[in-house]
Amino acid sequence: MMEPLLRAHALHLAFGRTEALRGASAEVAPGEVLALTGPSGSGKSTLLLCMAGVLRPQAGSVTYEGRRLDDLSEDDRTRLRRREFGLVLQFGQLVPELSAVQNVMVPLLLERHDRQAARTSALGWLDRLGAADVADAQPGEMSGGEAQRVAMARALVTGPGLVFADEPTGALDTVSGEQVMEVLLSTVRETGASVVLVTHDNRVAAYADREVVLRDGVAEGRPAVLP
């Protein structure tokens, strides 16, 4: 059996009376691309945010490289998230007042990197993701595909071991979505990072090595854990 990079085990999380997760489990192996799929409201985004340490489950455990996320203090969890995880959301979620390169620099500046080094690194990532042309543009001046490439550069700039993407192509047309997936996958294949992505797009799910289907807050059907 392959040792997972991250293991989410029997997670429970309720928002008020709504049980978003009811014992959901999922594992991702080193270098693996995992798709979380399922109908709207099935808990796939909640599971992703718990795996990413953004949300804290009320029961169950999330273990990353042997460390339990729920045992960490809020500060340690934030630090781990910043250093080890990259997060990409559906609409990029770029800071509208900042240019592309400034957006990509943010995670490095939060980690107290030197400003000039951060800028050089950010420009390098924009170039790698085919977004060098929009380095000085603000999010409002970019196409959806460009903004998503910038968001990916921001997620990858810290060299994360694990990238979380929630509907990364949800706002894009087929061809732009395909280009964004292509860029993400070729990059993580080079860096060796794992990816957990939430999608309702079967084409995007087909980019993944494995799929975990959620229904009503639990993983259904095929094993959610690694073989």
Binding site: P39, N202, R203, A206, Y207, E211, G221
Partner: protein, 180 residues
Amino acid sequence: MCIVADMSSGHVLLGILAAGPAHGYDLKREHDARLPGAKPLAYGQVYATLARLQRDGLVEVATTENDGGPERTVYDISPAGEESLLEWLATPEPPGPYAAEELVRKTVTALRLHRDARPFLGAQRALHLDRMRGLVAEQRAAVDVDARIALDHTIFHLDADLRWLEAAAARVNEEGTLLR
């Protein structure tokens, strides 16, 4: 085996011949390369189609080759064939009726028998997604835009099946358990 030489493969073959004369083996290979993801053309079908195209005056025998092996007929498109090809290229197709596929037959039959169709729907999804994974990988490797476009068509049809599988599972779920 019933060999039905449908006219659209005939036109695809005419399209290949419009680029230059070819024999049956080359035509089959080029047809399958142009339409990856589609059912490969059987040799019997190629020769049946060529015979019909020749009968209708749309292709002509250019020459027969004999390189020590069996004799091979090289075909070329005729002026009437070129005309037919251009007309085919310009004519829109009526949307076809969709036959009830095996997936639908199984699901409906299971539900009529008050059996839970969800395990089948889930297993079918896994199989469809595996196929899609293969096609997406093939598409990522494809260099030519026409190959990518042909694969898009297969992928989108598979996607339609996948969405149907999801909707069917959701409806069964919503219904409580099974159709009454």
